[in-house]
């Protein structure tokens, strides 16, 4: 026996034919097991017992260190009981031969009675093989099992699908592990066998999984099977035990002269083929006829539209041939996946993968005619199931076509003690982490969820996450710089707006900084927080960097983001947020701080310096140079007309910029005019310079689409605002004519008003959290004006139905007295409740 096993080993080491090796070992073990059984129990029918090989051994696939699975089949339990000693003796004999046997003793009726909590038994019997003993008894078992499998087919299919899902979940539902388990992980050998069992259960004993696989690509899973069989044999021979983890050491050894990272890409290619095969078989065979899942899928099928049909929870193309003529359809497919979370059918996936060349031509053409690709990608990234869409784009090769920079981290293994997944998987998981934040019951996690909910243009953050580690494919040591180098051309090709590019560059450049600061700096030390806040510069960037850090840590491995780390991260966020908020009004721009890139001539630079003199420094940090130049150019109109107004569309929102001479009620009047046109103010900021010119910016939504559907309406608004600012029209008259806002059912929220006289050197700060409603900002701002207060800085934010407003206020150039501030709080409270 030992000689034969040694021969098999040597043959394997020279041919690397795992398939042959496992069959040869099974045959060799047969030669040992059968005679010993016969000498213990007698042969043939006389024995009254049949010895069956089950599981891998039953398939005649016995890996070098796998257990030998045996089943003793008795007609009756009583005879099994009587044979207990003989069985023990027989097993001891096998142990002495160096065979590790695991055994069970059953009767045919036990084998053919459904054990809902032991689906594994029924599955292992699919691979039964009579080794020796009572053939008639074995025949009776086969007859009973034929009826049993046909009767319980759906239950067994569902049970098996459940086992597959549970096993995949244990491995984070991904094949992309740095040190994969080649048997149990998704894409491992167990998946291949599961596909075989599903095929047999659904189509009878002779059915193979290949029948369910498109004819033109049947080679892929078979090639993968060959690879995985050889791999597991290697691991068994090397470890000298049933250990199936492909560790870094093994990767290095098996890659031999090849780069282990490249060799691992081969592994993932094969694992992907097997994973697809198993997935496809689950889809095709294990759909429950009547269940909640079916009801859910039926509901999903109502999502079908002119382009797509959703059948059994999978997306199909109605006219696949149009992929060739309408490459835009490809992006629409992924937008649909990102919106509804419906996975592609294997058929659709294959077809889309086949269109990659045509899609590349389409992208080149789009670039030539300056078609904006960024909005299409941004639309996908913004949607709730973006991770699924990106994962499908990766599998079909479309992600690499759209972003060739991503290709260099495809299946990339970078050895690291903490990381569990390949670099591409880590990047996509980071995005998934953020998208899964919503609805978390954990209060600590809910804080980050709220931060994400109020983040503007989250797609820019997701894009930065997608590319933050691409540099690891170029230089593992200096990956941040390499990622920045790669992100530049990608953003050029997508024709991303400069402000978005700047944010992406900032996030990639600093993506490790927050995690380092929170563990290496004393967060109670104001100097440490100040230094960090100075690098981040704005509250908007701080929010995005915090979320990026959260996602980046969480996607390292499932245990990396401990509550401890979440706590530290949140502390740093709050400390930096408070720092940035408090210094907001204190620092004013002096001529020397004006960025040199502003202005092309010395005269222009001087004029810009005069324009910016005395504006809070926050203005410089929150506006890109081109925005500052736009505002500066408006100043000429302001000089001529005493007022300058610019309204522009920014994707789904509008932005209003107003330059005017300061006067009481001015801010309130602008807010009131917007409300009178039924606009919904989402953000507002007020700045002023030393010369008394105010620069107010408002971001607002047009829920009734009146600006979009009726372009002259914008002009009417501009004229009305002009007259209001110049005092020719009373905003209260406009507001009286305002159409009543539609009644909305919202959770009850009581207004919370507070003031703070400590943190700012010059201003009293009022915090207002109140249910948002049309005209709220006008009412709040008017309340300050009625009390002869000046609003120096205002930060308006809207989070779902909640308005979160911060006002920096002075009265006659001084902070407010406590009793005056308290009185104002009461009046602001009144103003918040005014419309109720």
């Amino acid at each position: 026996m030992m000689d034969r096993l040694e021969q098999i080993r040597e043959q394997f080491l020279s041919t690397a034919d795992g398939w042959a090796a496992v069959h040869a070992r099974a045959d060799a073990v047969d030669q040992v097991v059968a005679p010993r059984f016969e000498s213990a129990f007698g042969s043939g029918a006389a024995s009254g017992v049949a010895l069956l090989a089950v599981g891998g051994y039953g398939r005649r696939q016995l890996f070098p260190c796998s257990d030998v699975d045996l089943l003793f089949l008795f007609e009756r339990t009583a005879s099994a009981e009587a044979s207990r000693d003989s069985i023990a003796g027989f097993l001891r004999d096998l142990w002495d031969q160096g065979l590790r046997a695991s055994h069970s003793v059953r009767t045919p009726s036990e084998c053919a009675a459904l054990a809902a909590n032991n689906i594994e038994l029924h599955i292992s019997l699919l691979d039964r093989r009579l080794l020796t003993g009572d053939q008639a008894l074995f025949q009776r078992l086969t007859e009973r099992l034929t009826g049993f499998y046909s009767r319980e087919r759906d239950t067994l299919l569902r049970g098996l699908a459940g086992l597959i899902r549970d096993r995949h979940a244990k491995f984070g539902d991904t094949i992309y592990h740095l040190e994969p388990h080649v048997k149990d992980a998704p894409g491992g050998l167990r998946d291949f066998h599961a596909a075989c069992w599903l095929a047999q259960l659904a189509g009878g004993p002779a059915a193979t999984p290949e029948q369910y696989w498109p004819e033109d690509s049947r080679g892929a899973p078979l090639e993968a099977r060959r690879f995985l069989f050889a791999l597991r044999c290697h691991l068994h021979y090397f470890n000298d035990r049933d250990n199936n983890i492909l560790t870094f050491d093994h990767q290095e050894r098996l890659a031999a002269s090849t780069d282990p990272a490249l060799w691992m890409r081969d592994y993932f290619r094969h694992a992907r083929a097997i994973h697809h095969l198993a997935q496809r078989l689950v889809d095709e065979t294990a759909t429950p006829p009547h269940s909640l899942l079916t009801l859910f899928r039926d509901r999903q099928s109502r999502l079908s539209n002119a382009d797509f049909a959703v059948t059994r929870g999978r997306l199909y193309l109605r006219r696949p041939e149009t992929l060739e003529t309408d490459p835009g359809l490809v992006l629409r497919v992924f937008e649909f996946v990102a919106r509804h979370g419906v996975p592609l059918s294997p058929e659709t996936e294959r077809r889309i993968a086949g269109t990659a060349p045509a899609f590349r031509v389409h992208l080149d053409r789009a670039r030539r005619v300056e078609l904006d690709l960024w909005p299409s990608l941004a639309a996908i990234l913004r949607l709730p199931h973006a991770y699924r869409a990106l994962d499908a784009m990766r599998r079909t090769g479309l992600l690499a076509t759209l972003l060739p920079e991503f290709q260099i981290i495809d299946c990339l293994v970078v050895r690291d003690f903490y990381h569990r997944y390949t670099v591409d998987e880590h990047s996509l998981r980071a995005i998934q982490t953020l998208q899964d934040l919503a609805g978390s019951a954990d209060p600590l996690t809910a804080r980050f969820a709220a931060l994400l909910a109020e983040t503007e243009r989250p797609e820019v953050l997701f894009f930065a996450l997608l590319l933050h580690d691409v540099g690891k494919g170029a230089s593992a040591a200096e990956h941040v710089a390499a990622s920045l180098d790669l992100a530049g051309p990608a953003m050029d090709r997508l024709q991303m707006p400069e402000t978005d590019r700047e944010t992406v560059r900032f996030l990639i450049r600093h993506h490790l900084e927050m995690s380092a600061t929170m563990t290496q700096r004393d967060l109670a030390d104001p100097a440490a927080v100040e230094a960090f806040a100075a690098r981040v510069a704005t509250i908007e960037r701080l929010g995005k960097l915090t979320l990026m850090t959260y996602a980046d840590i969480a996607a390292v491995n499932p245990d990396a983001l401990t509550p401890w780390r979440k706590d530290l991260l949140w502390q740093l966020y709050v400390a930096a947020h408070n720092h940035l908020t408090r210094q907001m009004e204190a620092d004013r721009v002096a001529a020397a701080q004006v960025p040199p890139q502003l202005g092309s001539t010395e005269a222009e630079r001087r004029a810009i310096a005069r324009f910016l003199d005395g504006v809070p420094t926050r203005y410089l940090r929150t506006h890109a140079p081109e925005q500052i130049l736009e505002h500066f150019r408006l100043e000429e109109t302001f000089r001529r007309n005493s007022v300058a107004i610019a309204v522009s569309r920014r994707q789904e929102f509008y932005e209003l910029v107003v330059l005017a001479s300061d006067r009481p009620f001015l801010f309130a009047s602008i807010a009131g005019t917007l409300s009178s046109f039924a606009m919904n103010i989402l953000k507002a900021e007020a700045f002023s310079n030393r010369a008394g010119m105010i620069l107010d910016t408002f971001v607002f939504a047009d829920p009734g689409r009146s600006f979009e559907l009726n372009p002259t309406e914008i002009e009417r608004f501009r004229v009305a605002l002009d007259r209001v600012i110049l005092g020719k029209l009373d905003v209260r008259d406009l507001l009286r004519r305002r159409p009543a806002p539609p009644a909305q059912r919202r959770p009850r929220l009581l207004p919370q008003i507070s003031f703070d006289n400590q943190t700012s050197a010059h201003d009293t700060i009022f915090h207002v959290i109140a249910p948002d409603r049309p005209g709220l900002l006008y009412d709040l701002a008017s309340t300050f004006s009625f009390q002869q207060c000046d609003i120096d800085v205002v930060l308006i934010d809207t989070e779902a139905y909640k308005a979160i407003d911060v006002f920096y206020v002075t009265c006659a150039g001084q902070k407010l007295e406590t009793d005056q501030a308290e009185l104002l709080c009461a009046e602001l409270h009144q103003a918040c409740c005014g419309a109720d």
């Binding site: 004393d522 507070s754 959290i769």
Partner: protein, 112 residues
């Protein structure tokens, strides 16, 4: 043999590790913990809301060492972990009855 349990500020971990290395100590167990002593928690204000930070993130170090190494180790540890402010942490010292290396059953100081 003695066991040191030290609760220190997270940002002091690297400095403490370096200081212990300087006195020839490499082995230690590090855990992320949360708690408070006299520093108590504190109130944090965020967007005008106050919320309590009851338990502060800290690092716990556990070191077992021969008796004669105790004093210099404690000196190195407390020197590196000190900022002089509230919240620097604590060092606890316990007697250890036995140490066993699982690999080969070495016992006593030889197992450290």
């Amino acid at each position: 043999m003695k066991k040191i349990e030290a609760i220190i500020q997270p940002f002091k971990l690297e400095e403490v590790k370096e200081a212990l290395k300087q006195v020839g100590l490499d082995g230690m167990t590090v855990s992320e913990v949360r708690g408070h002593g006299r520093q108590q928690g504190h109130k944090e204000v965020y967007r005008g809301h106050e919320y309590n930070v009851d338990y502060l993130p800290k690092i716990k170090l556990e070191i077992v060492l021969p008796d004669n190494r105790l004093e210099e180790t404690v000196r190195a540890l407390s020197g590196a972990a000190r900022t002089g402010k509230l919240g620097d942490g604590k060092i606890f010292v316990f007697p250890v009855e036995e140490a066993i290396r699982i690999r080969n059953n070495d016992r006593g100081e030889g197992a450290l």
